[in-house]
Subunit: 338 residues, 4 copies
């Protein structure tokens, strides 16, 4: 549903190459009747599907909602009759608490009774809940980069209960496929634009998912990249702890994770996570560096906002939910140089 946007397009790319998924229908009100490959030109020669209207939706095993934020929740009954498994890429079902939703999104949740049925779609934190899940609320992109960097450290008590500050450098695709004055190339190409210095909505899901009750503050800046998020996270380590404890925490929690890589290299030019290397991949690269004098630790977390931040994450959740190989359809290694 809503397959003409960037999240939908990326899900299509991944689903068309997935060994266990078959794409049977794609909706778009705006592009109904047009070939999918006209809107997503990378799919030329890969699919002959045409967009249809939502009203023409037929039953399917899995329905993926790639609708604008706020659109899915109000129409959810419409989809529940059509598919056993529903994956929502929007923010509509991520938050458990309707009041938190209202505070973050400025309006009452249209279906608060359903919130409990949805699993927050983050495999690293909620793999067990995802097995067999039929309602998956895919995690937000900036939130994912922050959560994955902090989770092991907060879980294992490697951070002080002090304000944590996350600064996200975000590519232009995160704002979606619709053009605007702000996305006009001459205004955007050379820009470093702070678009959310305070009050970022993903704060709510970050705080919901992370253990402890640390205050976490987000600042979001758009960069000239198209894809990718690089988050640098400023936090504080207790006396007596060192970067070895950070290493240990990451290793303990993420050792078996197929899509988490610790990137902390002493030589060469690629020492820390860099979204440049992740376009099209489902990796989350994590790194860190410590200032021994102050106990400050800088965590670095890079993802492709459309893959590990959205559509790839969704595929990974579906793989877990169905008991498929967790990496199925997500094998692309990324390009270098890129």
């Amino acid at each position: 549903m809503g397959g003409s946007g960037y999240a939908g397009g990326e899900f299509l790319r991944l689903a068309l190459g997935h060994p266990h998924l078959k794409v049977t229908q794609v909706t778009s009100e705006r592009s109904a009747g047009q070939p999918v490959a006209l809107v997503h030109p990378n799919l030329r020669g890969r699919t002959n599907l045409k967009f249809r209207k939502a009203a023409e939706l037929k039953e399917a095993d899995i329905i993926v909602l790639a609708l604008p934020h706020g659109s899915a929740a109000g129409r959810i009954a419409e989809f529940e009759g059509k598919g056993r498994v529903i994956v929502d890429l929007s923010a509509d079902f991520r938050l458990k608490d309707p009041e938190v939703f209202q505070q973050a999104y400025g309006e009452a949740h249209p279906a608060p009774d359903l919130l409990g049925q949805w699993v927050y779609g983050n495999p690293e934190l909620r793999r067990e809940e995802l097995r067999g899940a039929t309602r998956i609320a895919c995690a937000g992109c900036f939130a994912t980069s922050v959560i994955l960097a902090l989770y092991p450290l907060l879980k294992l008590g490697v951070l002080l209960p002090k304000d944590i500050i996350a600064t996200g450098l975000v590519g232009s695709s995160a704002a979606g496929a619709s053009s605007s004055d702000a996305s006009h190339h001459p205004e955007r190409a050379g820009s470093l634009r702070v678009y959310k210095p305070v009050g970022h909505r993903h704060t709510a899901e970050v705080q919901q998912e992370l253990p402890g009750h640390f205050p976490i503050h987000l600042t979001a800046i758009s960069t000239p990249r198209v894809r990718g998020i690089l988050s640098t996270i400023q936090a504080w380590i207790p006396d007596g702890y060192s970067d070895r404890d950070v290493w240990s925490a990451y290793r303990e929690v993420y050792a078996a994770e197929p899509f988490i890589r610790i990137v902390k290299v002493a030589r060469g030019i690629h020492r820390y996570p860099d979204p440049m290397l992740l376009d099209g991949t489902n990796y989350c690269d994590l790194g860190f560096e410590m200032d021994m004098d102050s106990g400050r630790v800088v965590l670095m977390s890079a993802i492709d906002n459309l893959v590990k931040g959205t559509a790839g994450h969704a595929i990974q959740c579906l793989n877990i939910a169905h008991g498929w190989e967790e990496t199925a359809g997500l094998e692309f290694a990324g390009l270098h140089p890129a």
Copy 2:
């Protein structure tokens, strides 16, 4: 008139720093009432002017029309009563022949009788006509880069009467300040998009201005740059001629030109014209290289499309028309690195 677009904004930047010009009013229907610096944020602290509606235009010594193509000609009487000197940055009054206009722009010229009163605004070719001129039709940007490269060679017979092909690499600002699907940053940032392989409208003014009746063919490609045009022009030199003759022709015709530089350097990395070095400047850098085996010569021509291609060219024309120092207000050297 029409000061909220990129051509208008660039004219404002230059006029505000010009020793003999004073900007008294700026119109914009869309932004009327708003400060100029809200739309052109580089002018913060440089002007307190606000946009007004065209209907509020008062008399002025000079009126500059930065309206969309096709808008100026139909309303020209409106402006003629208000200002002694009129400079049009659009294509409306560039062509002498109404039939050529109709062929290039697809509609009859609304004021064909006036065409003869306008001087084509290219100082290098028409400096004498520009002295004291009161109607200046500023040259097109791609056209300027092509005309300035070819003029001396065609004038002095250094080229064979064979098809000439000009390929222009154009920055995104050339398409104007309005956003569109094509200008959406994620679709444009990495793109090399052939947007006019054949049929470019500037062909008409190039052919009007250049001596001889050689067929000249234009292809236009948009690049990830915001400003600038780099034209590479493929032409043919008669037997017995060499690149020395190209040198001589350029020197003979352009020796005294303040804004033409011949760039052909044997060492280093900046051997030929490059629009990177010209952002904000009024220069046209020209270079060339010859293939002795085939007699093919490749001319290279770089400008900033908004300066030498539009607003700076207009200032230069005004300087000539009023007898001011020709470089007044156009002193910026450009940045390196940039």
Copy 3:
């Protein structure tokens, strides 16, 4: 051999994901002893291989030479003893005629007697010769983009025997992995640099591979992209022919080609080939537009210089040589947006 460069790295990326290839050793004199993933950070978690010195090379079924131009030919005996199939990614064995080689590369070929044993590695032109081939000289990147656009039209006589001009817009990765003054980011990021206005070495292989004896002229310009080549090719169609004949020729010759797509769309913003869509893919996208007045046709051809221009082309040749599925290992669809 020479796996620390960009061509070698890209071959590794593709080979590591190939169903029938297993990478057993990688050499690099400069990086011997270091993990491959230190130099090619996209391969983190994909391989534990370390670079070894060429002197340590052991026997293998296939040896791929990713050495600098001029290095392979002089050492070819060294490799012939080690592998049954040899693929050379350099220019050393592409030209059949040692005199043409000498003219293009400025020195005598060190092994002229061997030139006849090598197949020019272009599947679309030489698929039959490639079946079972054991010596494959992989085609040049700019040459490939030009050859694939022109071949059907020259073969079927859809072009006039007139000068053809190809202008290539080339990404920075084409100059290799070694830094230089010219590749220094501040000097290169905003640059449109004509680096080979005349005298491009690929002219020789273009003329060798294309039918007829038309003069073909190349101009190469570096752009701010990292990957990709967009070639616009100016040619001439005989009276009585039209763009339908171009369509027919492409269809006739390329109908069954898995990696050639004709891109010529009437609507939307992706009307012609654009390298933006091809990063990481093995496609060559071809388009064209005709100027009916003059008979000029503009061909457009886009590839990823490191994939269809080098390493992907090599994989495709190996697939043919071994009788494997021709698309094996080359399934990546490319990203949008990118």
Copy 4:
């Protein structure tokens, strides 16, 4: 001295256009004998000067040192005999305390006795000391962006004495004119590279210049821009204070500053400081936003690292030192779009 680098080149550009400065000699060991315009191609047609060796330096009213960090201090006697006024663009004379220097730069200061003679070259903080000054140690670029954002707030007590965190997004020109693996375009163009997560050397001068003894932490990230620094600074406001107090503090301290602009706009797309608008200008644009719930304030500070961050700052200091108009030679407004 050392005029072939980016800082030297930018100083030359500004000095050549300055009404009261005349450039009489430029040194470069590497480029001695070559025209300045070969290295700084934006100066073509602006100067005929050639580089000479340092040994050939003659007396001058003002000597500007644009040498690598660590080179000026050891040779300072050499220059003191040649010029009455010395401006050092490096870090050598910025710190007052030799021990702090040793800690930050890892070696003993070669001329500790002289440190007291130098004025830290920041006009907004040290205008009075700069009047008539003959030794000016120009401030660091990242430091300048941080100091100018924080100074009024710390001076007037508008911030809590809590850890302050500054994240700087830095253009590639900040690393200088010499190419390296890290600056190789294919490795850098798409990169968001954290190059100094902790331990940035500018911390020392930030702490020296700012009132109070707050801990200030710097993280530096390189971006795909060539010029510019955008710093976002996370700090905390006491209970009972609000963003009005931030406004007031900036107004009180900076009301008369010619190069400080407060950028905080409710409408449009240019709401906060953006280095895109500052290339070539001497402005420091400051903005801020507050999170009322937590008392967190995010300060935003943008400069061109080569102008307000280096050479323009130096010109401004020289203007003050000599009693010239403070904006002389620094009139460029910046480009939009850019």
